[in-house]
């Protein structure tokens, strides 16, 4: 494949809930990296707890903005502040955002928060500033369990492509038609 026919990247997260230990290192890392105000956060661990003593199970699902290919947040934004970049990242133009919070209503994943310092709505950016420098997202880099993987789905040799090729996976609230970019490996 020559340079100019190379496909645009499709950045995705592939999560391995089986490897997540709910340590929340990803949350702290993200808060520091992205200067997320105290009390808010861009990523979290969803939990599915089942059973009764002593037959218990609990699954940890690492989550952040799903950078939907069909993002309802972008669709409803009245100012165009929320936009989708060429490579699929759903980002916010903080100057343009007036803080109507309509996107927060529209996001099925509750990925957004009001950033009182920026006076705008905010969320996970897939660490776009790091990505543009060729660095992995902060939460991926520090993930103690190795549960978070990030990469280009359009590159068949990427770690994420390989993981998805060899494992069954699912996405959250797929029925919402959001085409989320976070895949979960079924254990």
């Amino acid at each position: 494949m020559s340079e100019n026919t190379a496909k645009k990247p499709r950045w995705v997260f592939v999560m391995e809930p089986e490897r997540c230990i709910d340590c929340e290192a990803c949350m702290v890392a993200c808060s520091v990296e992205n200067e997320v105000p105290l009390g808010e956060h861009r990523n979290w661990i969803a939990k599915v707890e089942k059973g009764a003593f002593p037959d218990l199970s609990i699954a940890f699902l690492p989550e952040n903005c799903h950078h939907c290919a069909n993002p309802p947040c972008e669709r409803v934004c009245p100012t165009g502040a929320t936009y989708r970049r060429e490579d699929g990242l759903v980002l916010i133009d903080y100057d343009r955002c007036i803080g109507c919070k309509y996107c927060m209503m529209a996001c099925p994943y509750d990925a957004r928060y009001v950033n009182e310092e920026k006076k705008a709505v905010d969320k996970c950016t897939f660490c776009v500033h790091r990505l543009d420098e060729g660095l992995p997202p902060a939460c991926v880099e520090t993930c103690v369990g190795g549960a978070r993987h990030f990469g280009d789905l359009n590159d068949p040799n990427s770690e994420v492509s390989k993981l998805l090729a060899t494992h069954e996976s699912y996405r959250l609230y797929e029925e919402a038609g959001t085409e989320p970019a976070i895949y979960y490996i079924r254990s």
Binding site: E16, E18, R19, I21, D22, C23, E24, A25, M27, V28, A29, S31, V32, E33, N34, E35, P37, L38, G39, K47, E49, G51, A52, F53, P54, L56, S57, I58, F60, Y94, E117, K118, H129, R130, D132, E133, L135, A138, E141, T142, C143, V144, G145, G146, A147
Partner: protein
Amino acid sequence: MTDKQDNTLQLSRREFLGLSAGVVASATVAGGLNLLRPSNVGAGRQAAPHPDHTPPTDFDREVFTLCEQCVWRCGVRAKVKDGRVYKLEGNPFHPHSRGMLCPRGQAGVATLYDPDRLKYPLIRSGPRGSGLWRRASWEEALDYVAARMLEIKERYGPEAMIFSTTHNLIQTQFENLLKAFGSPNYGTQRSLCFNAMITANLMTFGLEEPGRDYGQTQYIIYTGRNLLDAISNSEAQDLVAAIARGAKVVVLDPRFTKTAAKATEWLPVKPGTDLAFHLALIQVIIEEGLYDAEFVAEHTVGFDELKEATAGYTPEWAASKCEIPAETIRRIAREFAMAAPHVFAHPNWRTSNFLNSFQTERAIAVLNALVGSWGRPGSLKPSAGEGEGGGLGTIPQPPYPRVSALRLDGVPWKYPLVPLKLGVFQEIRDNILTGEPYQAHGWFINRQNPVNSLPERRKTIEAFSKLDFIVTVDISMNDTAWFSDVVLPEATYLERYEPLTVVDGIVFIRQPVVEPLYESKSGLWIFKQLGERLGLGDYFQYEDEEDYLRQQLAPLDITLEELKEKGYYRLPTHEAEGEEMFTFNTPSGKIELYSSTLAKSGFSPVPVWEEPVGNEPGTFYLLTGKVAQHTQFATHNNELLHERVPTNPLWIHPKPAAERGIEDGDEVWVESPTSRVKTVAHVTEKIRPDCVYMIPGFGHVSKGLTTAYGQGASDSDLHLTFTDPVSGSQALSQTCVTVKKA
């Protein structure tokens, strides 16, 4: 469903605290509490938002150093911009981090920029614990400390001065100070932590702590080791990888911990009865001939005695003790033995649970030996260890003075088998109170929080009142510092040099990422200054921190500048040879299933059943245990970690909760024979009905911790003191409590 928090409440509480603390501060302006209030120097991440809303990607510097948010000491890459530590990342070259930091490591910036940090030397100006301080210069504070210490030495002898610290890189220089001073009284966290485990391994393998090879292991048994909450970064990574690879993991814990959640099998063992489980494993493995006969014959002594002593410990017998079904025990014994030698029963770490924890640890060590889990892929191995040694240069010093006084911790006169190095910390505290065998008069505390880490917090505070002089070196106004006479501010780990350390044959450096904030100083500087004032200057023959490191590096072909740049230096290789693997530093030179040392001291030479104290009907075992987002008693004021886990509700099973009319979120009283605390109930299926659990480290009494103060309740307040006569280990799960709705 877990860890629910109400943040609105929290914030308003913080505002409230901020307000009330402010009132106190203005009321005591001259008094000095204001010295503890936030200042604008080195404000935290909130104070310096980037105007362009995009986090920086180009940094002025990246500095390699070592994490100190816990004792695991991961390698860190610190990113600096405009003189501010912006972000910490794992050093990919460091075997303990491998490029990752745990939540506490990630939160290091909030430790560095904590507005509550100690800023200047403080001398108490009101009654102890009143929070009235006077700011002093280093000159004055050091002169004063030295004068008081010398006064005690002259009047009562050097033994009247107690020194204590917890595992850290400056420990060698701290020990240097106390040995040169001539005191035999040295308190460490060890008897509260791993005495049972270390002593058992010394008795069995002749070494402190066997290493674990996770690479090819197929079966692991953890006995109250909650590795995925009580994180040892690299080892936690190894465990997750092993599980993902398909290794079987069995976890014995009365609680459904994070480790249990990830394990193949969780066994909610009755507290204190792990010994019965392991004795039964041994019994089955011997009776069914599943042990590694060749290995046992070649490398161990005492098999026959062991066989005889454990013959009666059938799974049926054990089931009646530990409440794990006999079939399960028998199956696990078989599975474990079948997968051997690519298996290990983990030696565990904090094994300060019951008086029989030493026997439990012995049984675990013996179990490993029986199936030949030693020096094979996926089994136990001699510890790689971390230390100062390994070809580093040493700093010249005269010999230490001879010490003739008895040790206040009862080693060896009361506890003959406790290794001198480990000691019995809680005994020192108790002997301050009794004044036996002599009265102590001063306590020098570095990087430790005995007011919280020792059981019976009231007793520790009471012991303080028997002392003439207490000095604490810390980075924050912890609860121990709060009750001290002098508090000296150490620079945080991101601002100082420390003695070099060697891990897996690689030298690592801790170096300042930024200059120390306020007037804080490194331990290397503080102890040298004090040493000189105590007339012990010869023991501190280095000019400054860099000089100390240069002397350490002298025999190696790397300069300090090069090491600072690169962050590590690989020593000329010296790997454990095959031979070395199987020589054991025990009296017999072999693995001792039967320990003659134990026999000689009148203890059982082979593992035998010791009945733990049971809980009275209507009472609960009070369990303690780490949480991934905090370290011990130290990080609750870290705003990033406080944000994650702001308090410690009491875990209680729905059945006993219902019997007491307690619902999730209700306030409850938890009462032990020594104290009672009020906290909030977290009603959960994740704990045995005869146990309750609290995260340790909350319920701080120091008002110098404005974020943590008044949050949650202290389990140390409730714990009673029980000391195992063999290993000197404190028994933290042995305290039983009642719970009632508040």
